[in-house]
Symmetry: C2
Subunit: 117 residues, 2 copies
DNA sequence: GCCCATAGTGTCGAAAAGGATACCATTGGA
DNA sequence: TCCAATGGTATCCTTTTCGACACTATGGGC
């Protein structure tokens, strides 16, 4: 499930915008990608960074990101299971985009009453 | 309707990413913004650029963009009604972001079989 | 034997987003 | 008189998304 969003595009010019958007859209993907920019994270590490995400959702988003080739998933056959998530090569090329999003948000969302300080 | 997406954020770091995303998310907003970057457009001009959008949807997206202060809406009291849409000041600051999205899409979506040529 | 942790999966249901279609007002032209 | 164009609204329905919650496997600690 999920992943139905970008099955096809009616490609007018500007399509590329939608196409990119469709990859990072989905409530948690942007943040996940953002956190992954700082380095490898395990499943529960990500979960702890996103207080309101459920396991099902997080799993889902991670699977979609993986399917889109933006992140890599490494499973260690250990007894308490361990799975590492990293940005892939392709995922790294998204960094400037994520950063642009972050910068704009920081600069233009004073109404969001956040404390970036 | 609509506009429920970004009523609140559970602001962890990375929140800014989601915040920005929430403004340009919504199936047509990205493209609309993109087209508006080239200059003023009337309602039906936008509609013609997006072959698969319905009036309801387009109206909706435009209203949300307006509510978020990204575009301006100018109504001319003419007999065949005329409404101009433009990027607002704030909207213009989003240009680099939209562009980043477009550039990445053009560079990284060969699978989308489009003909940018 | 029981509970904990990890990293999930499955099912259910509500809500939101999106789409189809029909309708409105005005007025100039045929 | 009737049609066309503009920029919408209103209503209804389907699809997609999101969230709650329960359940699984394995092995260590108590």
């Amino acid at each position: 499930m999920g992943r139905t969003r970008h099955d096809r595009f009616d490609c007018s010019p500007g399509c590329a915008v939608e196409a990119t958007l469709s990859l990072i859209d989905g409530k948690w993907k942007g943040v996940v990608l953002y956190h992954l920019m700082s380095g490898t994270l395990r499943f529960n590490e990500i979960r702890r960074k996103l207080p309101n995400v459920t396991q099902r959702m997080l799993t889902n988003q991670l699977r979609e990101l993986e399917a889109d080739g933006l992140i890599t998933r490494t499973v260690f056959a250990q007894v308490p299971p361990r799975v590492d998530y990293d940005l892939s090569e392709r995922g790294r090329t998204l960094e400037p985009v994520i950063l642009a999003l972050k910068v704009w948000g920081d600069a233009n969302m004073p109404a969001t009453e956040n404390a970036a300080a």
